[in-house]
């Protein structure tokens, strides 16, 4: 049994193997780009709004509200990154019901790449928000003794982010494969339905956790903001 789409080689040219992960990743990306391009090419501000534009507005609004709920001051700043993560993971998980499609998120390479994006994005957002000194200072807070634990925590949560998504999507595929060989027709369909729910929740979790990491690194601590008198955002 192939537990990863990495092992499924679709095309090979002089030792350069093109595996299913790469092909389906580009497929999902092309699908997302085509849909967004087709909708945004005919945007209207009047009273006659196409139903596709309504759908896109609902998606973008919901993602922005969720980012604001997590605690970011300016959601529009994080919307492109978090929204892209969510839409890509959700699209590739939901397309798992299409026959012949293997979700690229079921491969450890894809999820590690996505988690590495989060690992890089956290210091980028934090430094632009608080400055280099403020970001590096958060590592030695409350004492210098916490420095190794903060660094380990940074790395281990990235690994956890990658393995969580990979394990959830991969387990869906493996369980469906086992059930097809044991009890065909009915049970695999139920597991596929459960897999749709799990896939959507996992996409949500990934995006929310990325946002939580970014928000906690980019938020100004109350001690630093003590000089500003009417600052209500820095509580908790």
């Amino acid at each position: 049994m192939q537990i990863s789409p990495d092992q499924w080689i679709l095309y090979e040219w002089r030792g350069l193997a093109l595996n299913a992960t790469v092909v389906f990743t580009w497929g999902v990306m092309a699908l997302l780009v085509l849909i967004s391009w087709a909708i945004t090419a005919r945007l209207s501000e009047g009273t006659r709004i196409s139903r596709w534009q309504v759908m896109l507005e609902v998606v973008v609004e919901t993602i922005r509200d969720q980012i604001a709920d997590v605690g970011a001051d300016r959601p529009a700043r994080y919307l492109p990154f978090i929204g892209t993560l969510f839409l890509f993971i959700a699209a590739s998980n939901l397309l798992a019901v299409v026959p012949g499609f293997r979700p690229p998120t079921g491969s450890l390479s894809t999820t590690v790449a996505l988690a590495a994006c989060v690992l890089v994005a956290v210091p980028l957002f934090a430094i632009t928000e608080r400055g280099l000194r403020g970001y590096l200072g958060s590592y030695v807070r409350p004492t210098v003794l916490m420095l190794p634990f903060n660094v380990i925590g940074e790395v281990s949560r990235t690994i956890a982010l990658a393995i969580r998504l990979y394990g959830n999507v991969m387990s869906g595929t493996v369980i469906a494969g086992i059930l097809i060989s044991v009890a065909p027709f009915f049970f695999p369909v139920l597991m596929q339905l459960l897999g749709l729910l799990t896939g959507l929740i996992q996409a949500y979790i990934f995006a929310v956790l990325a946002m939580v990491y970014i928000a906690s690194a980019a938020r100004t601590r109350p001690a630093e903001a003590a000089g500003t008198p009417d600052d209500t955002e820095t509580g908790d």
């Binding site: 049994m1 537990i3 709920d69 956890a160 393995i163 969580r164 990979y166 394990g167 959830n168 991969m170 387990s171 493996v174 929740i201 996992q202 949500y204 979790i205 929310v208 956790l209």
Partner: protein, 93 residues
């Protein structure tokens, strides 16, 4: 199939079963506890149910990832065990 590969396969299968069996006890208890607390909180303050539900989903996924790690380890033991290849090379060469 020589002796060493057989032993490695047997130990891997038993360990994979033990991994997922023991490793799912903790997350199962924790998820039940988290869900019951969330239900009690929603019953007490129905207005805050949106926030509670969202936090519940996030924390359930984080708790569940412990079980998922065990699942990944047992899958590696069964389908992608690195030691079977080493044993096969040692037997062959």
């Amino acid at each position: 199939m020589d002796d060493y590969s057989l032993w490695i396969a047997a130990v891997s299968i038993v360990t994979a079963g033990l991994t997922i069996a023991i490793g799912s006890i903790g997350p199962a208890l924790a998820e039940g506890r988290a869900a019951s607390q969330a239900l009690a909180a929603i019953a007490q303050q129905p207005d805050a149910s949106n926030t509670i539900t969202r936090t519940l989903f996030v924390s359930l996924a984080m708790i569940e990832s412990t079980a998922i790690y065990c699942f990944v380890v047992s899958m590696i033991l069964i389908f992608a065990n690195p030691f079977t290849e080493i044993a096969a090379q040692a037997a062959g060469g």
